[in-house]
Symmetry: C2
Subunit: 342 residues, 2 copies
């Protein structure tokens, strides 16, 4: 089992996933060795290879298809090399200046399609909606296990974005602690809610829609903007127009709207920036089965959303050391390239 360790100065947690490590060579394979690791001929996520993954925990199947057999559209399986594994609620240990706990959590893979070569924006809208609904069902199910305070859904597309397999997939990691970045947003939104008397994201949506120069796309339920202070070139936020802290409270009509806008946005990224590697992730409120006391105002102050980061620049010594980011592309320029031409 991996270990969660806390840096006492910054309060940052890390997951030490020991079992993966062997010799120094393993951490810096030669290009030839890297190639050997993922033979193009075999992919455990392709239809027909279901027996090569752990048994599925969810699948949307065609009528008559059987579990762990071909005939599925979207399939969710436990990660074969999990960063965190299910277990009893972890006991925090403290020994002098050191803090740690068992790496208890959940790590699943959402295989978005049986087709190895069709990326998310290439799929029909109804299929993307199935993927989004799969996220929702898994989050709800995991949140019923009370020890997981936060469920993080994210996608790494492309090797430079951290994907180790090229078959289209996303990941779900549930943690026994609320992540630092989510906490920062929760606190920030609560403070700004007190200050402005309304949800800050609702206000951002209103102002960005009025200004228009950072607005990329919009429909009845969602809008996409490049944020005012983005860390990365062409970074984007997808905001639901209806205020809600939780992704899981999204209606079917809304998830259809999200599928449409995601298809358009990721399609834009692919066409305009020559199919770059990217990450996206959902930021939402912590497990609603747990938060009522700690976050009394959460329901009003926090607004779930998706953040999309194309990988076009490299994070370096300046960023790692300061937490500042140098972004060579103003978000207004990025939005003007990404917006549909009039």
């Amino acid at each position: 089992m991996s270990e969660l360790r806390k840096d006492i100065i910054s309060g940052r947690w890390v997951i030490i996933a020991a079992e993966r490590s062997k010799r120094p060579d393993d951490f810096r394979p030669s290009p030839a060795e890297e190639k050997k690791r993922e033979p193009a001929s075999f992919c455990p996520f392709c239809a027909g290879n279901e027996s090569k993954t752990p048994r599925e925990v969810y699948a949307l199947r065609k009528k008559g298809a059987r579990p762990d057999r071909p005939g599925w559209l979207v399939r969710v399986v436990p990660n074969k090399f999990p960063a965190l594994t299910r277990g009893l609620p972890p006991v925090p240990h403290e020994d002098g200046i050191f803090r740690w706990m068992n790496g208890v959590g959940v790590h699943e893979v959402v295989i978005e399609t049986p087709d190895h070569d069709r990326e998310l924006p290439d799929l029909p809208v109804y299929h993307i909606q199935h993927v989004l609904e799969a996220y929702k069902l898994r989050i709800i199910s995991i949140e019923e296990e009370f020890q997981y305070k936060y469920v993080h859904v994210f996608k790494n597309k492309g090797r430079e974005a951290g994907a180790s397999l090229s078959h289209p997939h996303s990941q779900i990691v549930a943690t026994p602690i609320i992540p630092k970045k989510v906490n920062e947003e929760l606190y920030g939104c609560e403070r700004l809610h007190r200050q402005h008397g309304e949800c800050i994201v609702c206000r951002i949506i209103r102002e960005e829609t009025k200004l228009g120069d950072r607005l990329v796309l919009g429909n009845d339920h969602f809008c996409v903007v490049t944020p005012f202070a983005p860390r990365f070139p062409f970074e984007m936020r997808v905001y639901p127009l209806r205020h809600s802290p939780w992704y899981t409270r999204m209606s079917k009509t809304e998830s259809l709207g999200l599928a449409k806008i995601l298809k358009a946005t990721l399609g834009k990224l692919k066409n305009i920036l020559s199919d770059p590697p990217y990450n996206f992730y959902i930021h939402q409120g912590p497990n609603p089965n747990l938060v009522h006391e700690a976050w009394a105002n959460l329901e009003k102050s926090f607004h779930w959303h998706i953040e999309i980061i194309p990988i076009l620049t490299r994070v370096a010594g300046f960023e790692w050391g300061t937490g500042f980011y140098i972004n060579p592309v103003p978000p207004e320029t990025a939005a003007s390239f990404l917006r549909p031409s009039p």
Copy 2:
């Protein structure tokens, strides 16, 4: 001039360096175009090409050599494409939910050697000490301009670590605000100083030296450890044994000790991990000409140090979204590989 913009929710600042941006292709050049950008035959940092950089602000020269001419050992020049530029103390602007100020600051390049192919650990100890002394002199000089609250010194080695030129160099960026990560450490150290009645880094050094399993190297003035909760495989910290918040207070004897231990540490990295890309940066107290009131306890609570990050894994959607890091190499394993064999 670039612009500093603040994300109101997280409090994070970004530098929008607009003048660098042109067309979307510029942000995702083809491999052929990338190659074209840095012709192997020409390097502005090599001896003889002094006229291709802005005029030097510091150089350690051989006797009789003239400024901006060959004959130097270490040379510091303004960055030709600066992220921040010198100017009047920036006025913070606020318009509704948007916060920004002019991108005022300093951005310099420390050319570590005239020799294109000799990396830091390949240089003799006395030469590395010259580089470290150059950092010191430039920091002191920049700190005399009162509008810069923090001077950040860092090195990007290798393209994957963000270096755009391969000639050995480091960078200095002075900012009008104390960076978020430095602030987090300042607050963390102050809190822990109150709690423990001593500098937390002094305590970490004492405990790590006693335990020994994360200790990599040590001499009379410095030690190198893999931290208890490292974000990255083989991440290291270089700690001065004498408590001090400021790099610039280092004596000549101490900078010799630092040169020796840096040569050994970076040499280890090169040999054991097949010359990986890496970043290092100094974390020190803010501009001592400014901080006396805001950080009354800083002198006692903060302990300057260097953080070294080899680039062996990729930061992905999990890390970006949570601020957690998944590290496949326990620091005890990393230290055992890096330690000199008995």
